[in-house]
Symmetry: C2
Subunit: 769 residues, 2 copies
């Protein structure tokens, strides 16, 4: 736990350089634009501890799997996003001494991320070993208005000296991944050019042969005057630079404007890349730094217009929630259905930048309510694109006839994980993928999506479930053996309630979807059925039989669903009775002790009750919450949000707020001591859910948007936006009541605290409490 980040409603501020926490800051001050991202590394040389990170969305490498004990079905290679070439580099020499904050005396330092406008600024004053003092301001951004480009402005002032300042601006593609399994370098150089103040490097990933061109063009001003300089150029292995030395007298200020781009063979023919990179850099240069910065602020204003949450009366909470929304919007923009959201986004190497069920279970609810529906649609199409591979994946495990098992972790549709108890057994991910389709349609009414893409995915998933269950003669029921539920502290269990329930639900929803497409798109229906060799009557009949005879553990005495077979053989201990020195369990207990305990890593039965709340009465919700919550240690960042939402639903406002706090500043305050590896991007969506679905009580019931907000007593007010079926509303919750303002669309009938309310376009309604 750290607390060096200053509280501010719109900015993230590090005042004074926290050298020992530099990797944490590099993660926190990451910037991105959906296509590329980079950690908050310094522009100038830094010889202290740092983890360089530059990532190009969708450019991955199949790294060789390293595993102790091989099991059939493990991937031999797994895709991961690569650390890529960096364009921010500037080498600054002051009277011959290289500027390096690790060796210089730092007189003043401030790092600042402006979330409203989307830029990163760093200012510092430092005394070099030679006694020269410089004042520096560095400001940079990755443009979301022109997502191939970025720019930086770097000014150096000669505070107490005259002499010379040499500036070398470079591109560096000679980089490695820290997590490379066999210490391989993943890039090879294809081409490079450098002349004067401009340069390009084209490099290619090994094996996948993606080419990426990175380009730069820079200009140097002295005291606001553009300098006409000769540049000495260097071209080394995957490295180009241009440098020039300027004479300065005390008080002079040197300013470098550097324009850069990143273009890849995912969007252009490889042989055009050099040219395209030059084009992009020239485009940025001709627009100019100030105009680009203005465009950036405008584009971000538009994002905030749809996604902002305003909290009055609590700057820490305000900063926390905005930080989460900001990073989600930096990570995924919905431009390209080949992209998705890695748990660390563009902020670190951990988890390889790949897709988990986090996307469907946590991120989709966020984007559905805060972004154009196209954004979520792209996330769904991503899975449709990978349906073939999901079928292959299931075949590898012994399934057939079009059964699809989506991988636990993936970049391109292939499995990237190799722990059998997760890879092969944590199959509930299939359910979340189906649920996201349902969730998308109930928020957008875009039922045509089923005909176009959704139904095929649902059929593959349902076919999987139908093969994955087996008939138990003992129980005279269908059972689901050998699974790992969302609670990864219980492996290879039978009849995990969540998994079995969502499987049943998938079978039912697929049946309904088949009926819808058959009736409304009969030609497309025929096509789908034929492509999939689908025996509609037999397969659907089998699904119905399974649904009707599925075994679900239920404890009558306690009125709770049993997480999995054998749960009540475990010694029942509550987290509050555990000596806190044992927490987190994952650091202090052996795996077998964890498995034998009743402690729950993250919401499992409660995850299901959250998703299918409509199907259960409040009493059942409460008895399950009362039973499972005290046994849950929340050692996944995805756990507290679900608990927060259910606690709010049950009227337990204190607990709802407590759970909300556990994720809202997770990274800013480095709660889990792992922010240095990158940010918890996908759990950030959970924080948003805590506010909007928890405090705000936002639900979709029978196709209608419903709200039942509460106000945490720590706050004066809060407001959030919800996009729903073509409308956007602003909901403001204060002490005295709720104000709903219609901002976009044709008007909307919603339910507020069980009351039907018709909000006409561009009107407000205030409901007092």
């Amino acid at each position: 736990m750290k607390d060096y980040i200053q509280h501010d409603p719109w900015k993230i501020i590090e005042q004074g350089f926290h050298k020992e926490d530099n990797r944490i800051s590099e993660s926190i001050f990451s910037i991105g634009n959906g296509k590329m991202g980079q950690r908050g590394n310094f522009e100038e040389h830094y010889s202290g501890d740092s983890m360089p990170g530059n990532y190009v969305a969708g450019v991955y490498y199949p790294d060789k799997t390293r595993v102790g004990w091989w099991k059939n079905g493990y991937p031999e290679y797994f895709a991961k996003v690569l650390n890529a070439a960096s364009w921010i580099g500037l080498d600054v020499h002051v009277n011959g001494e290289r500027l390096d904050l690790h060796t210089a005396e730092i007189l003043d330092f401030r790092r600042e991320l402006d979330m409203r406008e989307g830029w990163l600024k760093r200012t510092f004053k430092a005394r070099l070993l030679n006694g020269n003092i410089v004042e520096v301001e560095a400001l940079r951004f990755l443009s979301i208005a022109d997502d191939e480009c970025g720019a930086l402005r770097y000014s150096v002032k000669a505070v107490n000296f005259s002499g010379d300042i040499e500036v070398k601006s470079f591109l560096n593609g000679d980089v490695v991944n820290e997590d490379s399994n066999y210490d391989e370098q993943f890039w090879v150089e294809i081409a490079k050019s450098v002349e004067g103040n401009a340069g390009v490097i084209v490099s290619e990933t090994k094996k996948t042969a993606y080419q990426v061109a990175i380009g730069m063009k820079f200009e140097i001003f002295k005291n606001d005057e553009l300098q006409d300089l000769d540049y000495a150029n260097e071209a080394l292995k995957m490295y180009v630079s241009g440098s020039s030395k300027l004479d300065v007298v005390e008080g002079d200020q040197i300013v470098v404007y550097k324009y850069a781009c990143n273009v890849s063979s995912r969007y252009y023919a490889a042989d055009q890349l050099l040219e395209k990179a030059e084009e992009a850099v020239n485009r940025a240069h001709s627009i100019g730094f100030d105009n680009m910065l203005e465009d950036q602020a405008k584009a971000w204003a538009d994002k905030w217009q749809h996604s902002d949450i305003v909290v009055e009366g609590d700057d820490a909470a305000q900063q926390g929630i905005r930080f989460n929304i900001f990073h989600l919007n930096q990570t995924y923009t919905g431009e390209d259905a080949r992209l998705n959201i890695g748990p660390k986004g563009f902020t670190g190497e951990k988890y390889g930048g790949v897709t988990y069920w986090d996307t469907e279970a946590y991120c989709v609810p966020f984007y559905l309510c805060t972004a154009p529906q196209e954004v979520t649609r792209k996330l769904l199409i991503y899975r449709h694109n990978q349906l073939g591979r999901a079928i292959e994946n299931a075949e590898k495990l012994g399934f057939d006839k079009g059964a699809a098992l989506y991988p636990m972790v993936t970049m391109n549709g292939e499995e990237c994980h190799n722990e059998w108890e997760i890879t092969f057994e944590e199959i509930h991910r299939n359910g979340a993928i189906a649920y996201a389709i349902f969730n998308y349609i109930r928020h957008t009414d875009d039922k045509e999506y089923l005909a176009e893409y959704g139904l095929e995915v649902l059929m593959g998933i349902s076919r999987f479930w139908a093969q994955r269950v087996n008939w138990s003669e003992g129980l005279e029921k269908y059972v689901m053996l050998g699974v790992t539920g969302p609670n990864e502290f219980d492996n290879n269990v039978d009849n995990n309630w969540y998994t079995s329930y969502i499987a049943m639900w998938c079978l039912k929803y697929t049946e309904e979807s088949l009926a819808y497409v058959k009736e409304n798109h009969p030609k497309r229906y025929e096509e789908i059925v034929q492509n999939a060799s689908f025996d509609a009557s037999a397969e659907v009949a089998k699904w119905r039989e399974i649904r009707e005879k599925m075994y679900l553990g239920y404890d009558e005495k306690r009125n709770i669903f049993i997480q999995a077979d054998g749960f009540f053989n475990k010694e029942q201990i509550l987290v509050k009775d555990l000596d806190p020195k044992h927490l987190p369990l994952v650091h202090h207990w052996s795996w077998d002790r964890i498995l034998r305990s009743n402690f729950i890593k993250q919401a499992d039965v409660l995850q299901g009750l959250y998703m299918f709340e409509e199907e259960f009465d409040l009493e059942t919700l409460k008895s399950n919450y009362d039973f499972y919550e005290p046994r849950t240690v929340h050692e996944s960042s995805l756990s507290p949000c679900v608990h927060s939402i259910i606690a709010a639903k049950l009227g337990d406002e204190d607990r709802a707020y407590e759970f909300y706090l556990r994720t809202s500043r997770l990274d800013l305050d480095d709660y889990n001591s792992d922010t240095k590896d990158g940010l918890h991007i996908t759990s950030m969506a959970g924080t948003w859910m805590s506010v909007v679905e928890g405090f705000g009580g936002k639900r979709v019931v029978d196709g209608q948007l419903t709200l039942s907000p509460m106000l945490p007593k720590q706050w004066k007010s809060y407001s959030f936006k919800v996009s729903f079926k073509g409308n956007t509303i602003l909901v403001k919750v204060t002490d005295s009541g709720v104000e709903v303002t219609h901002e976009e669309g044709q008007g909307l009938q919603i339910k507020l605290y069980d009351e039907e309310i018709n909000i006409k376009a561009n009107t407000s309604i205030v409901v007092h409490r």
Copy 2:
């Protein structure tokens, strides 16, 4: 499956060089003497496929663990036996061309392992690329009479040429392990010397700093005359050689006698090793090759005297069973309690030469009946020596107060394995270690062993069980959660019957052992209790409570013990109904499919019924056998022997023989296509068990040796030896009856087919059937 090894009662013969199977042959033709061992590599250079292997017992290296997903409790390093320096090397040049069977034309080739006398011979005739034909005979052995030494005789005859033959004799310590995890070299050179026809290399293992000296001395004869030669010497990195060129005319025969030794810092001070190596080599040289070979034959005759099994009427069976006995006796001699038996012995790198529960469950029964009781005693003391580490190991997993969990796999007492479902959960190994103590005492009457060593081990193990169970409120029983039984095709199950049963048995046997030591060795008892801070009355009372209230799954309808909770939720399919193309499952099925199936890798419930046969009636044995056997795929080489013994007990002679066949020639015929990696040393003991306990019906009942032999109809007769409480008897089974001959000791009362028989010293009794 291969069948190129010729059948012969005493010899293993490869006629004609099977180049593509060379690694298999290298495994099969391995030789060893308990202290060192080597694969059947060629003496002269061979550029074809080969896996060099030389192993020094107990000289291990802590290799860095490579694992995909780390769990608390995994070892960071794990010990393994190293590939060590080789002494057999001879480089032979014939008129300037290097002799190499990979490039020469092979006119004749034969490899022969004489099991009766313990030597390996190779003869061949080959035409070199230069047209010169040589006839070679190479004979070598590792002495069991002087276990620091080995010797070889290598003769080369100039068949069709005159000119010169150059012989270079060398020691090579510059070797690596094929399975090195990070491609490390494990040895560094300490010293070397070479002069004329003698040399020594001393090298040291990294980290563990074991020093090993290997020495040689050689002589060259031409046409039976010792040659007085000048030797050119070389000393390279961990390599020394001496070479000389001899003129030959057609028909001349050059014979090299090479004496070698291996001495290590496990037995001598490191600074004496060079000297000790020279001593050993000079000793061997002064005894001379022929005398050493004679001593070897005598020493082996003594081993066979106690362990031979003679089968009449079936050469393949005879060869198979002798091959197994031969390798067991090569691998472990009981000289040193710091040594044990790796699943591959000295025949390959796989499994790292380390100790599994195989030792106690399979090897102990063999050595108990075929070797002096000291041999088994040493195997037990090995575990006593490691008790402290077993307690540390349990502490790492969260246990305390002296609870001991022996590692699944070990060299020096530390865990060497890292699959959580095995490392942390396959805890039944503790039971086998306790059972071996019981088994040793019932065969030897050496109850004093309990006071000296055994009780402390039993207490640590029982303390572990007492902490490992927990009270289930649901079942109102003690349960054993999260275990993997002997059937490794079922992971992380609750209430595995075998594990729970053996745990109960341990608690009872420890209680009895405590009482025995207390009564008979009160002072030692006090010492043990004090050392272990043992609260006798409280702890034993707890053990009793656990034993009385332990949950054991039982199916009344079928009268069978349930392998583990949930077994009957699985779809019940028999192996015979499985398409054979799926077998072996471990190669064809994903791990999750295997886990969800009812197929059993190796005897589990039946393993328990085998060990505790006295405690169950025949009907129960039969119903369990009838139920579980058809579900067992025997994908462990340790499975068929138990089934063979039970089948014989149940009178199912055909099946008993069928199971016996599955292991008896496992390696000779390369059944599992893995002989190339080394031999299945520990499962060889299972073959012996099939014959003696299966066909021979040998048991110990109420402290008495009992026999009830049957004769497989494929055999004319068979005989085996059993050592029991200071006596050795020979049991010969023929068509007409059983002849029991007393060979050593004071005489013995046994039970033969339920009849009490008193065999006086040096008499025979024949019982007709």
